[in-house]
């Protein structure tokens, strides 16, 4: 089918892709987004292509269908690190290598716009999910002040508002597991009073983070501190980049991801530090919120605990690190901005340690106590999921503040991928 010139021009634009994470693959997705031929979008409504990363479980089929059908047609999916659903398997586009995403997505866009690919079929029926439930002959009458339940959903009944006790309607909804602004896999029941979070109930914990290969090896035996610290610096920069993206600083986030891809031992991050200060990142909404209590800090461990002056760093127990003069970095503010600040400081210090250790000269010596990316592993115990604390931490915050606090915490459980398995770094 011939393409008119408008479609030809449209096909040359970066492909808007919505990443649907069916596994804790956010770091990989952030790196894949550096390809100029694609553009991550925050909602499937703005996407032409859906990237399904990871293996979908039958429990999430309904949620997947909802997200899939919200892409305006014609649209198609790309499957990466997982098998396509049976209903979409016919002619499915499967991505073998992450580096190929730009090329494959671009070709898919050309095919969709030229009509060669007619788009994927819908998975949900095209009918009201909650049909009108009136009592009368023509659908009138029923419960509530409206005289019926509009589309089967009841009207909200007034409750006391959190701020000043006005009797207002709460808005209740469930979120996830495929929200790009929540940790991948997290499902929650949320109630809002206006823009204030009244309750946040975790229904399903996020997918566990897989330990990167080098950390896995560090639990088994001595590994190069240079290699370990480079992986750590990369992880913290990715965390910081996500927080920037949540704060609508997409360009800076992109620069951070690009920096994380090509880190060198001893490299300075001063330019980035200044950039974050000048852009007002540390003063954005929610930066001064999310102060952790004692038990929350200890549960979270790692940077979050050190950002509120609690917790320790397992690297002090390692002779290799002690020989490099290692001392833990600690702050006492404990809010979201402190965690962001400490991520960058830790990344900088990791690069310095990687430089000081030399290429493979200094190795770790303690396998019983290893400082992982989120907290320490002592005697083989890995950090457990800590998302339950969000139920106490987020209520009372405005939505933007709550999302900033969420983006300052790494709460998913840590899991071993097995020696040699592909990690997230």
């Amino acid at each position: 089918m011939a393409m008119n010139w408008l479609r030809q021009l449209a096909a040359k634009a970066p492909v808007p892709v919505y990443p649907l994470l069916a596994g804790n693959l956010r770091t990989d997705i952030q790196t894949m987004g550096l390809d100029p031929r694609i553009e991550w979008v925050a909602s499937p409504r703005h996407a032409r292509v859906l990237l399904v990363a990871g293996e979908l479980s039958p429990a999430t089929d309904r949620a997947f269908g909802k997200v899939h059908d919200q892409l305006p047609g014609p649209a198609a999916s790309i499957w990466w690190q997982g098998q396509p659903l049976d209903s979409l398997a016919d002619g499915a586009t499967i991505l073998d290598k992450a580096d190929d995403l730009g090329r494959v997505a671009h070709q898919l866009q050309v095919d969709l716009l030229s009509g060669k690919h007619r788009g994927e079929p819908a998975l949900c029926p095209d009918e009201p999910p909650e049909p009108w439930q009136g009592l009368g002959d023509i659908g009138h009458g029923g419960e509530g002040m409206m005289g019926g339940k509009p589309y089967g959903r009841s009207m909200a009944m007034p409750t006391d508002d959190l701020r000043d006790g006005l009797q207002l309607d709460p808005m209740a909804f469930s979120l996830g597991p495929f929200c790009s602004f929540l940790p991948p896999g997290l499902e929650a029941n949320v109630t809002l009073h206006g823009d204030v979070v009244a309750s946040f109930e975790v229904c399903s914990t996020p997918y566990p983070s897989l330990l990167p290969g080098v950390f896995e090896k560090a639990l088994e035996g001595p590994v190069s501190i240079t290699e370990l610290e480079l992986a750590r610096a990369r992880h913290y920069l990715h965390q910081l980049g996500h927080a920037l993206w949540i704060n609508q600083s997409g360009t800076v986030a992109h620069a951070v991801f690009a920096k994380a891809r090509s880190l060198k031992p001893g490299e300075s991050l001063n330019k980035l530090k200044k950039q974050l200060i000048y852009t007002g990142f540390y003063r954005s909404a929610g930066a001064d919120k999310g102060v952790l209590g004692d038990s929350q800090a200890l549960m979270t461990g790692g940077v979050a605990a050190r950002a509120c002056g609690r917790g320790s760093d397992a690297r002090v127990d390692d002779d290799g690190y002690r020989s490099l003069g290692f001392k833990p970095l600690v702050m006492d503010r404990g809010d979201a901005a402190a965690r962001w600040w400490l991520w960058l400081e830790e990344a900088q210090r990791s690069l310095q340690l990687a430089h000081d250790a030399g290429p493979g000269h200094v190795k770790t010596s303690n396998t019983r106590s290893v400082e992982l990316l989120r907290g320490a592993s002592r005697d083989g115990q890995l950090p457990e999921d800590g998302t339950a604390m969000l139920e106490d931490l987020l209520p009372g915050l405005e939505w933007s503040e709550a999302m900033a606090v969420l983006a300052s915490l790494d709460l998913s459980a840590v899991q071993r991928a097995g020696a040699g398995a592909e990690g997230t770094l």
């Binding site: 919200q70 949900c124 999910p129 959903r153 009207m155 909804f173 996830g176 790009s180 499902e187």
Partner: protein, 121 residues
């Protein structure tokens, strides 16, 4: 002269109509309607989640602090214009009176500040 102008107007009108027709590319007897999006696309995006109650929801914009500021500044300006005329005649006395007036209004502004009226959201 008037007939020429009317003719010109008519020609411009016809040309505009013809160009509009050509751009739309469709006969006027068959107007095209954009089909409503399918039902799944009409639902809010919640990453796979669903709303529990209807979107017709009463929440408060909380404009009281902003209203307070508007009144404070508006009153200020409303009295300042006539005061500027009186000041020429009354001198220092008018200046002191206006100072007192502004001091009282400032209390309202400071209260609004404390209540977060200047906070950008």
């Amino acid at each position: 002269m008037e007939l020429t102008e009317l003719l010109t107007l008519l020609i411009i009108g016809l040309l505009t109509f013809a160009v509009g027709l050509w751009l739309s590319g469709r006969p006027i007897t068959k107007p095209q309607y954009r089909a409503a999006p399918p039902w799944p696309q009409r639902a809010p995006f919640l990453g796979g989640g669903s709303p529990e109650n209807h979107a017709w929801n009463r929440f408060h914009a909380r404009y009281y602090p902003m209203t307070l500021l508007l009144i404070a500044f508006e009153m200020e300006m409303m009295f300042m214009y006539p005061w500027a005329v009186v000041y020429v005649a009354e001198g220092m006395k008018a200046l002191v009176e206006m100072g007192m007036f502004l001091a009282i209004l400032s209390v309202g502004i400071i209260y609004g500040w404390r209540e977060g009226a200047f906070k950008w959201q």
